[in-house]
């Protein structure tokens, strides 16, 4: 196995954190420095849901849509966030403040419905909590 391979995922995670996404240039540079092909790097970059090859907003909202959150009516939370920030899941606000995604189980089922913003978890959500939570992000 190529020695650089093992560093790849860790470095992609680092780039993702610093740059907010994995640009074509950053992936090409990583490929060169680790002696991997660009397609190897792209393959790993696009496998994981917390890595993105497209530019994202400064803050990423991930609302859990798995069954336990679905049972606790996560759809209302999804609708409320849509209304608050004016975009649908999969989109980024024009000012680059938020990207909005739906995600699978984040392990907060005992406090459903739940969502993550960046690395923070918010649980026992109700529509009235949303606007206050979002205001804390710039």
């Amino acid at each position: 196995m190529n020695k650089g391979q093992e560093e790849l995922l860790v470095l992609l995670q680092k780039t993702q954190n610093e740059l907010g996404y994995l640009s074509e240039e950053s992936m090409a540079e990583l490929a060169k420095s680790l002696d991997l092909s660009i397609s190897d790097v792209y393959g790993v970059a696009t496998f994981y849901s917390f890595l993105s090859a497209k530019p994202l907003g400064r803050n990423i909202i991930r609302i859990c849509k798995s069954i336990p959150c679905y049972l606790k009516n996560c759809q209302i939370i999804i609708n409320t966030v849509e209304k608050e920030i004016g975009i649908k899941p999969g989109e980024t606000t024009p000012d680059g403040k938020f990207s909005f995604q739906l995600t699978n189980c984040i392990g907060a089922c005992d406090k459903a419905p739940a969502m993550m913003i960046n690395n923070d978890v918010y649980d026992n959500l109700t529509p009235s909590k949303i606007s206050k939570i979002l205001k804390a992000y710039k």
Partner: protein
């Protein structure tokens, strides 16, 4: 039956940021006992005799796994703790990590000693990044106190992939690759991480180790059933008044957990084991929770009488199709085909023929998928067809 706390013994009783509170509750005594005079073989024999089986869902005998890795030839060996708890409805490992990281570290050090490994990894799911500092702090406190003289523990973070909780995909991910499952054999104890002998244990499995070493295998194997020794930690969610984490002796009835402890009412069905778990209708609520009946990783999702079985199974299959790694055709195409057919029933457009196709597809996937995801994906479909067949028949297109 009241709860019986082994894996959760310290959760809520210690300060997870302060090792002295752990030491006050017999912390690191098992490791000292091991260092002060147990051979690797004796440690492994004790774990074998305890009957401890893997708590991640597969239920493989822990002692046997360790014995295989211990005997395997290799100058480098690894211990991996699987903290990539991605199963839908599972949050017990989160509860353990945030409540008692020290027991996990002690157990990994014991495992390292037993198989002759100097290096351990905790593979932590990306969604639990908020516990990274707590874990790193616990590791450094254990190091400072001299409890990890010949064993190093490193945390590797996942990047959002359900399938990486599958052990071979997990190792691929630590190796920096796409989290695609491997063909097996060879199995990890002979050829695992970086092609070296490796044991991969679930968080909860490891939590049992120190107490087995301290109290002896006999103390542990008196609990549980013939084939399922000890206790199990359950994550209960869905239509219940008291969702949360409960630890019960194995063999306890589903009813005790769901109705007596979590206070569910008007239960229609319970899914046991997450997205690929069995669907148990209320008539079978007295089923014992054990490896020989129903268990998985202990995810318990409760559905009351207002819930629609087809909607639930359809959504579950959408999840599995999304999270399938795509390497084998039965997993990749099978889950997609099931989403399509279940969607037809969900919209009331099913055909008689579709039920037959679902059944045939289910057996093909179970036989020929490369890993547990594809093999077990049809389980909820099969159960729903068996116990709630009329729900399908009512959704067959009327013309």
């Amino acid at each position: 039956m009241p709860q019986k706390l082994i894996a959760l013994k310290n959760c809520g009783f210690i300060n997870p940021k302060d090792i002295t509170t752990y030491l006050d509750r017999d912390g690191f005594k098992a490791l000292k006992k091991v260092f002060n005079g147990l051979t690797c073989e004796q440690v492994i024999e004790e774990i074998k005799a305890s009957g401890l089986r893997g708590r991640g869902g597969a239920g493989f005998p822990c002692g046997l796994k360790w014995a295989l890795a211990s005997k395997a030839q290799g100058n480098e060996k690894y211990v991996i703790c699987n903290a990539d708890e991605g199963e839908v409805g599972t949050f017990k490992d989160r509860y353990i990590l945030e409540g008692d990281p020290f027991t996990l570290i002690e157990a990994m050090a014991i495992a390292g000693y037993a198989i002759g490994a100097k290096k351990g990894y905790i593979y932590l799911r990306a969604e639990y990044h908020h516990h990274l500092d707590l874990l790193e702090n616990a590791i450094s406190q254990a190091k400072e106190r001299g409890f990890l003289p010949h064993f190093d523990i490193e945390i590797r973070e996942g990047a959002g992939a359900y399938v990486c909780g599958e052990e071979s995909a997990l190792m691929e991910s630590i190796e920096g690759k796409r989290g695609e499952v491997r063909y097996r054999p060879p199995f990890p104890p002979s050829r695992g991480l970086r092609a070296k002998p490796t044991i991969i244990n679930n968080v909860e499995t490891l939590m049992n180790i120190p107490q087995i070493i301290l109290n002896g295998a006999h103390w542990f194997n008196q609990l549980g059933t013939e084939k399922s020794k000890g206790t199990k930690v359950f994550s209960v969610s869905g239509d219940v008044k008291n969702p949360g984490v409960y630890e019960l002796e194995l063999g306890s009835r589903l009813k005790e957990l769901v109705e007596d402890l979590a206070l569910a009412e008007k239960v229609k069905m319970v899914q046991v084991g997450g997205a690929t778990g069995r669907i148990i209708p209320y008539e079978m609520i007295n089923t014992p929770l054990a490896f020989e009946s129903i268990l998985g990783a202990g995810a318990i999702i409760v559905f009351d009488e207002t819930r629609d079985i087809i909607d639930i199974v359809h959504r579950t299959m959408e999840f599995l199709a999304e999270e399938c790694c795509g390497k084998c055709a039965p997993g990749r195409e099978g889950t997609e085909a099931m989403v399509e057919i279940l969607g037809k029933f969900s919209r009331g457009e099913g055909l008689n023929e579709d039920i037959r196709v679902l059944q045939k597809l289910a057996s093909t996937m179970m036989l020929s998928s490369l890993c547990g995801l594809g093999q077990a994906a049809p389980i909820p479909v099969i159960d729903s067809l068996q116990y709630f067949r009329s729900a399908y028949e009512n959704r067959i297109q009327k013309n």
